[in-house]
Subunit: 135 residues, 2 copies
């Protein structure tokens, strides 16, 4: 219950997050832009990430290493709140440009998940290591 508070507490700078996740700043910002994370901001507009943010980024990374694209990741991560975009009910309106139906997404996910054959998926150590902080 009180867990939420400390898991959502803004603690980490960009530099630390890139070290923890081995993502580039570019990637992190892009994922934010896509609504996958919503890090807090300092007074001067610098990003401040929480444990949840880092957890989420590691999850995103692992999914994308499997070849899943942003749309797919979005779908997988829905339910876990970056509340500003996934506002209210499970599906607000599918609106917007991408214009993918649920069926489309499902097909896409299945296709992409089935091709988890190749790809070396490294740096598991990190995900394992950091996740010990919470949970």
């Amino acid at each position: 219950m009180r867990d939420d508070i400390r898991r959502n507490m803004p603690l980490f700078s960009m530099g630390i997050v890139t070290k923890l996740t081995e993502l580039t700043p570019r990637q992190v910002r892009y994922y934010e832009q896509q609504g996958l994370i919503k890090p807090a901001r300092s007074k001067g507009k610098q990003r401040l990430f929480s444990f949840n943010d880092v957890d989420r980024l590691l999850h995103i990374k692992s999914l994308m290493e499997k070849g899943i694209n942003i749309a797919g990741v979005k779908e997988v991560l829905s339910g876990r709140e970056p509340e500003t975009l996934s506002r209210s009910a499970p599906r607000p309106e599918k609106a917007e440009r991408p214009n993918l139906s649920d069926a489309d997404l499902h097909k896409l996910l299945k296709r992409q998940l089935s091709e988890l054959s190749a790809r070396p998926n490294q740096s598991h150590l990190i995900r394992g290591e950091l996740s010990r902080f919470f949970h």
Copy 2:
């Protein structure tokens, strides 16, 4: 056992630490200069604090709010490693300017501890709040 790794992992910037502890940067740097903490450094020489560092700072703060001075805090915290100064055995040599004998320190501590009468000692909330991260 593996706890040490994550408790000593360099994670927090100065800005975050000052928020967590409600110490000023000046104070944090001074305490470092006095050998009470040994935060890691980034490539560009910026301080990176671990959970242990923050814990330690909160402890220092609480002691000083009771009127204990740096020498006293040093004594109280000895045993908990800022390894570079407290190298090897419990007492390397007392050398240097301060030149305090153990008896002196004991006297000093007793005197200062006995005057914990007044002083409002606020912000206990924070110490309680953060310590839930580990332990």
